[in-house]
């Protein structure tokens, strides 16, 4: 079982969460090119190692949170609520 540290609920089973994807800088829609926008929407870095990800605690606090996870062994660093600004 993988435990994810929710800043509201504490450590919870990963089954309670929905994966909302890795966090990437969002390009400015008014100046970006279609290729850049497409890359932001659909292309993933798929890093082997530490990544910053957004998760949704759908069976708990129903909040988005940001955490860092090592994709090679599922080690997880403490998370923050996405609305705190650190996840944007």
């Amino acid at each position: 079982m993988i435990l994810l540290p929710c800043p509201w609920c504490g450590p919870r089973d990963a089954d309670e969460f929905g994966y909302a994807g890795e966090i990437r800088p969002r390009p400015d829609p008014s100046t970006t090119t279609p290729a850049e926008w497409r890359g932001y929407l659909y292309l993933r870095r798929n890093t082997a190692g530490w990544t910053r990800e957004r998760w949704f605690h759908r069976m708990g606090c129903r909040r988005y949170l940001v955490l860092e996870r090592d994709t090679t062994n599922n080690d997880v660093r403490p998370s923050t609520d996405a609305s705190s600004g650190s996840g944007s």
């Binding site: 919870r12 309670e16 069976m59 606090c61 129903r62």
Partner: protein, 221 residues
């Protein structure tokens, strides 16, 4: 032509014998088992959403992941906050209009975005009572329900039998007791799942005893 009175059917099929209470079809079965499961869906229920540290949170005065009993609208309420900025408020059967009116009056006094919704018919609510209740729940959810981590008057949300459910620890007369609330459509499944998991502990179905939300259970019938 004989007159008929409409009867409300809850999300869980009542175990026979069946009677009517506050317009709801309820089980009249009375079990003396050490571990019992009963359908409490007929309790009036309201869902409130508001900023979790806002003015309405101060009015409701329920700590996050906790519960509070208070008397309002001439009835005793059980207020819970299982999620940040999300409250589930319970009142005795038939009191949903008074409950929602009271909550809307509270919301009218604050200058923030608030939603108040009567979910009496939208949620299933069951009560599991007995010393073995945490052992039964340990089979169905991945939370530590020990006294240290989940004392009386704790409210939290997690997956029970893979269904998102609020777990509210609400001890009765010194006995371990949990209220579990989930979406109505999953209610019968959750009820049956708890019965199945509790077979080894001798769980039995017992009928609802009013009023259901006060400190001491009134002995009716």
């Amino acid at each position: 032509m004989p007159e008929t009175t409409p009867v409300i059917h809850g999300p869980v099929a009542p175990a026979p014998p069946v009677g009517v209470l506050a317009g709801w079809a309820v089980s009249r079965r009375r079990s003396g088992a050490a571990l019992t499961l009963s359908d409490h869906s007929l309790l009036a229920k309201a869902a409130v959403k508001a900023p979790w540290q806002g003015a309405l949170a101060d009015v409701l005065a329920v700590p996050f992941a906790g519960t509070l009993r208070r008397t309002a609208a001439s009835t005793e309420l059980l207020l819970t906050q299982p999620g940040p900025g999300e409250w589930l408020v319970l009142a005795p059967p038939g009191e949903q209009t008074a409950l929602v009116t009271w909550l809307e009056r509270c919301a009218a006094d604050v200058d923030e975005l608030v939603s108040v919704l009567d979910v009496t018919h939208g949620l299933c609510l069951v009560r599991l009572t007995g010393a073995a209740a945490p052992d039964l729940l340990a089979k169905e959810c991945a939370l530590d329900l020990s006294e240290r981590r989940c004392p009386d008057r704790t409210a939290l949300r997690t997956a029970v039998s893979r269904v998102a459910a609020d777990i509210i620890r609400d001890d009765r007369d010194g006995n371990r007791s949990y209220l579990l609330a989930c979406e109505r459509s999953s209610g019968q499944y959750l009820f049956d799942s708890l019965l199945d998991a509790g077979a080894e502990y001798g769980v039995e179905v017992t009928g609802f005893e009013p009023p259901g939300v006060t400190e001491q259970t009134a002995r009716a019938d």
